[in-house]
């Protein structure tokens, strides 16, 4: 009698967010048998939290007129500070409009163009054309030349995920929710699936597949202040890293969102600033025009976050028990606009801070928001290092975002990459056979069983998993944040190495029986700290500033030495990643000025070679 269930499928998708479900649909459309695993029911994935929208150059609304994939391409490459792969960016911008329209056929109630004149918050009058009425409209979102962000009122991620999942249900695709992949089964050359733990009963299962796709989203919760859902702990990334042969790309590229609401870190979407919100300091002075006269509050995310931090450092922050913060002011947009177009923001303020944005100022602070780095793949989504392993969405480094992602480009990435990579996965899988060595599977499961026994019985020590996790989060927040420097980064690396060793001595305080949450956290923590080390060490070694990676001691972009992508490997038994580098593919747009009017910082000017 076997101790664990074995499931066999053609394609195994780990993650049921937008990327995972889109890949699954594409593979199933090709007649393949697909199984999706997810920590939570698909509709509770983090993708539902995206409110702002997704970028696609439809060019239907007045402010988007004349938009096309070329302009979207230029925005994306500049946004990435030339860190992205330009072949990928090209493929992406050409496919994004198709992906948006496909979602419309499947059921997303995109907001549409309404003909007529209207006055923007800054006083400009625009006119939406009659001939465009009823087509998919777009809003403004940080850092783009045209209004290109398609949306559904204030619930873009929600409607995308619900629609995507409705197709998964319609197609009868198998979904095992409350199931956590805890290791990959591989022989150093090929991936055969995963060992997973059931989060209902605690039992282990083996999933064996011709191809495995990691779509597990970001790692926001490595930081103590993050806009991300609490399940975003980067597990898919460390599963891949743990193989020793699959590298993670650009882990030091971490995006901060300018406006996480103090103290719960719930994101106040760009829409608030896109619709005309201001940032104010403790004197209620609107300070962004002082730094960025042209783009003001709508400069790219990393620029706004940095300016805010700079302004706080100069002593203009508002003191609070949770540290200094700034104010977001949307009062002048009026009750009607706030209660309809920005309803979700209004609700967040009322429910989680007890304030009314129609009358009150919103306390905000830059907060960890997006992981540009992830499982390094080629343009087909195939992971480096292991055959049969793919990745898509925030978990991947496909490399669309380079060192900074544009707002609205990640939702677009999930559905666009899902569509493209799903097809590549299908092609690969149709040509693959299901051969595997049962001993390999047996060993992989046994290894996890032993880990679990060790944790439950405290064989290796009695370290407290929550204490270690909190220390890790604080280290990243304090030393690997918006402003970085060699001294702090070195401190982070040493501290994290020590925590890493301690994480091997975790012992549970509870029984570990059934769907025990402490055990789940304990199984994840060493992997999380490995990711934290990839981030900190990558940041320490990269002696330049690029996109969201800003070094106070190396404030300029250095294209001579650093126009390259970091690849972090984790050799067996190591306590630090091994870093390798590869060139960045530049095909159309050579490195230049990002054009965000940040000349005063002198950082990403780009004329510095």
């Amino acid at each position: 009698m076997s101790r664990y269930q074995t499931h066999i499928t053609d394609v195994l998708v780990i993650g049921a967010g937008l990327a995972g479900e889109r890949v699954a649909i594409e593979a199933a459309t090709h007649g393949l048998d697909v199984t999706i695993l997810s920590l939570v029911p698909p509709r509770r994935s983090h993708s539902t939290a995206a409110q702002g929208g997704m970028q696609a150059s439809l060019g239907n609304c007045a402010m988007g007129e004349g938009d096309n994939p070329d302009i979207h391409f230029a925005d994306t490459v500049k946004g990435s500070d030339w860190g992205c792969d330009q072949d990928v960016a090209r493929l992406f911008v050409e496919t994004a409009p198709i992906a948006v329209r496909e979602m419309a056929v499947w059921g997303v109630p995109w907001s549409r163009v309404v003909a007529g004149k209207r006055t923007l918050p800054d006083g400009r009058v625009i006119e939406e054309k009659k001939e465009k009425e009823g087509l998919i409209t777009a809003r403004d979102f940080g850092g783009t030349a045209k209004w290109r962000t398609c949306y559904t009122a204030d619930g873009t991620g929600h409607t995308l995920q619900y629609t995507m999942d409705s197709i998964v249900i319609k197609m009868g695709i198998t979904v095992h929710d409350r199931t956590e992949a805890i290791s990959l089964i591989h022989d150093g050359e090929r991936c055969f699936g995963t060992v997973a733990r059931c989060l209902r009963t605690g039992e282990l299962r083996a999933y064996i597949a011709k191809s495995t796709v990691i779509c597990t989203g970001g790692y926001g919760r490595l930081y103590s202040a993050s806009t991300n859902a609490v399940i975003n702990e980067g597990s898919g990334m460390f599963l891949a890293l743990d193989t020793g042969v699959v590298p993670l790309g650009n882990m030091e590229a971490v995006q901060f969102h300018p406006t996480g609401m103090v103290p719960v870190w719930i994101l106040i979407t760009e829409g608030a600033r896109g619709d005309g919100g201001y940032l104010l300091d403790k004197n209620l002075h609107r300070f962004m025009p002082d730094y960025e006269p042209k783009k003001k509050e709508l400069a790219s995310r990393d620029v706004v976050s940095r300016r805010m931090t700079e302004h706080i450092r100069k002593g203009y922050g508002v003191e609070s028990p949770y540290g200094p913060h700034l104010w977001l002011d949307i009062r002048h947009l009026g009750a009607k606009h706030i209660n309809t177009n920005l309803r979700e923001i209004a609700n967040i303020c009322r429910n989680f801070a007890g304030i009314d944005p129609v009358k009150d100022l919103i306390p905000v602070r830059p907060t960890q928001h997006y992981s540009m780095g992830g499982v390094r793949t080629n343009i087909d989504g195939a992971a480096y290092g292991l055959k049969g392993l793919f990745a898509a969405g925030e978990a991947a480094c496909w490399d669309l975002h380079g060192f900074n992602r544009l707002g609205g480009n990640s939702l677009a990435e999930t559905v666009t990459a899902g569509r493209i990579i799903g097809k590549k996965v299908a092609e690969y899988t149709l040509g693959a056979s299901l051969t595997f060595n049962p001993e390999l599977v047996e060993d992989a499961v046994k290894k996890q069983e032993n880990r679990i026994k060790g944790l439950i019985n405290g064989w290796h020590g009695k370290e407290n998993v929550y204490e270690l996790r909190n220390l890790m989060q604080q280290n990243l927040m304090d030393y690997v944040g918006i402003f970085r420097n060699g001294k702090d980064l070195q401190k982070a690396v040493s501290n994290l190495q020590e925590l890493y060793h301690r994480s091997h001595k975790i012992g549970l305080r509870s029984s570990g029986v059934g769907a025990n949450p402490e055990l789940a956290q304990a199984l994840r923590l060493p992997g999380m700290i490995r990711l934290a080390l990839c981030i900190s060490y990558g940041a320490l070694v990269r002696t330049e500033s690029r996109g969201s990676h800003f070094r106070e001691d190396y404030p300029k972009r250095d294209d001579v030495n650093w126009l390259k992508r970091t690849l972090a490997y984790w050799p067996e038994g190591a306590d630090l990643p091994e870093l390798k580098y590869e060139p960045v593919k530049i095909t159309e747009l050579p490195p230049g000025d990002r054009g965000y009017g940040e000349s005063s910082a002198g950082s990403e000017g780009g004329k510095n070679g």
């Binding site: 509770r44 059921g107 109630p109 409705s166």
Partner: protein
Amino acid sequence: MADRELTFEIFRYNPQKPEIKPYMQTYKLKETPGMTIFVALNQIREEQDPSLMFDFVCRAAICGSCAMIINGRPKLACKTLTNTLPSKIKLFPLPVFKLIGDLSVDTGTWFRHLSLKTEAWVHTSKTFDPKAQEERMDNETALRIYEAERCIECGCCIAGCATANIRDEFLGAAGINRVARFMIDPRDERTPAEYFEVVGCEEGAFGCMGLMACDDNCPMELPLQMQLAYVRRKMAAYGLGYKATQGVKLA
């Protein structure tokens, strides 16, 4: 703010350890400013009892994971500030749904079943043409669909519904609202007869007793009363012999 000491009484039961019968466990906690049930439960788990089971994902009233019975009412725990409650706080898992352990219930399986039963996807004979411009839709219609689509499948309306508590297959307000979402959608080609099969019965629109507990309990403030009335009206009209000609949309 007065420093309150909060007393949590929490339902405990682990189906994997059936030898231990369900019981109530008490935890004490100092209230901090801005504390929600999310903050409190995590603090209890991390500092007092790491075995405590509950579900949070977004902690921002978006994902629908964290509904539970808080002092007698179904609510989202992440959206409930402790300063709106007395210092004694009683927590139970939602009824109707299968218990996973302590405060964690399986709403996901229930709602997937609901989607299957109501075929909650756009039924269309059209195939997607990647080269074509999108079909037009009036923005008002898009907003009306979105209004019904805002349901986050939290289960609060189901847990508080007398019918759902006694009738296993009852769609509940969330289910009927879901059907309304597709009835409103001009892209969905289903006929009144097809919808009638799904909701024109005691398990659907006619099983509802109209006491409106659901409407009060919905954290998204969906107009459930309105949607229930809308679907019931359509179905009653159809059921009473008003046979719309084939293919005519309800909305």
